[in-house]
């Protein structure tokens, strides 16, 4: 445990010392990953489906605000969709436009979740996001998580029905448009996941703010259980075919990630909790003080032996 705490201190010192380089590098990596995944999954437009293009845009993203990654990712997605079919691009544009206009105004801080969510869905661990957001953010983040889920399911629908879309003739513009809109709106699985994620974020947030010992651990366990129940119940009702084993494994992983976040952001020494009471002229105070678990990073000393 002591080694882990020292490692955390090393990371903290490293970050505070080199944050000028760490932040742009992080943004570059994230943008690179997001754009590469988009190109790998969609990749209909040859001009932007190249590593050099991705590198240039990712480099641009590293010097811009974090939300610029989402803007670039949206641009890439719409261009690919346009290459596949104009109708897919129109529906995609309406979807993104409404998201930007109505929702991102309220949770601009974690808009990047929208770009991350499809990637996590691809590696089968999207259940991590609601627990993580509930722990480190606030309930408004449910908006970003919901938008991310909608984007993933929309793209998944387009990729799964790629051949159906291309096989329809040029005269079938309206049919194609209807086909895509129906695919998006009649996707009950998407609604179940959005509801599950929103409720999980709220549950985790409410419990982790309670003044009880081990509130973060209780919050993440409760969140994971709630999420599991809603997803499985939703699956029973709507018959969306959610993989039970996948959900359970994803939930276990969500707990693991939650513990890592707890270690970095809320590592408290509960056995040393102190409860004190005092008063002033106007109030009586009941104070509960929980010390943080800290160790100082060991300094390396070079001893010169002559």
């Amino acid at each position: 445990m002591r080694n882990l705490l020292e490692f955390r201190e090393y990371l903290r010192v490293f970050y505070s010392k080199y944050d000028v380089y760490v932040k742009p590098a992080g943004k570059f990596l994230l943008a690179f990953l997001v754009l590469q995944v988009i190109n790998a999954r969609l990749g209909y437009m040859d001009r932007i489906n190249s590593i050099s293009m991705v590198l240039i845009v990712a480099l641009m993203c590293s010097f811009m605000p974090r939300n610029f990654i989402v803007v670039c990712a949206t641009g890439f997605i719409l261009l690919h969709l346009y290459s596949l079919s104009l109708e897919a691009a129109i529906v995609g544009f309406i979807l993104f436009f409404i998201m930007f206009l109505l929702f991102f105004r309220f949770s601009s801080k974690d808009t990047v979740v929208v770009a991350l969510m499809p990637i996590l869905f691809l590696i089968k661990i999207p259940y991590v996001i609601p627990v993580a957001l509930g722990l480190v953010s606030n309930p408004v983040s449910a908006v970003s998580a919901g938008c991310g889920v909608a984007v993933y399911y929309f793209l998944h629908f387009i990729v799964s029905n790629e051949s159906a879309l291309t096989e329809m003739g040029d005269d079938d513009m309206m049919t194609r448009f209807r086909f895509i809109v129906d695919g998006l709106l009649e996707n009950k699985g998407m609604l179940v996941v959005i509801v599950a994620f929103a409720i999980t974020i709220a549950v985790v947030y409410i419990i982790r703010r309670l003044s009880v010992n081990y509130s973060w651990t209780i919050a993440m366990i409760a969140g994971v259980l709630v999420q599991l129940v809603i997803l499985l119940f939703g699956d029973l009702v709507t018959e969306t075919g959610v993989s039970v084993i996948g959900v359970i494994l994803g939930s276990v992983l969500a707990l693991g990630i939650g513990k890592v976040l707890e270690f970095f952001f809320f590592n408290l020494d509960y056995p040393r909790t102190e409860k004190v009471q005092f008063e002033d002229d106007e109030y009586y105070y009941y104070v509960k003080a929980v010390p943080k678990v800290t160790v100082s990073a060991p300094e390396k000393r070079v001893k010169k032996i002559r």
């Binding site: 529906v91 309406i94 409404i98 109505l102 105004r105 448009f177 809109v181």
Partner: protein, 129 residues
Amino acid sequence: MIDEERIILMTRMASYEESEGKKNIAIGNYFRSDYLSLQVLKAVLCGSLAYFMLVGAYVMYHFEELMSDIYRMDLMGIGKKLLTMYLIGVGVYALLAYIVCAWKYHNARKNLKRYYNNLRKLNALYKAR
């Protein structure tokens, strides 16, 4: 001689100014009513735009039926229905925007109060020198 207390205070304030501070100071420049009115107005504009876009998408979706039935349709009735839906949709969105922005304003004010307290403390430290 370096005054440690002053340096700590200044670092904390600078870090706040760099991150949340910019937004909070911008919000704090408004009176509560002005800020909320502006945000609700923006929400109404964005909501209207989104609504028209959705209506456009609906028209496109049902284009063929609409074209074939346009002379048989009760246009006044449809207009009333669209207007009611617009008022309800945009009204609910504006209400949500009001609640979220009121919460944001409250938080920004609270943080700014702490920031101004620190400023006062810093000023006192300079005077005490």
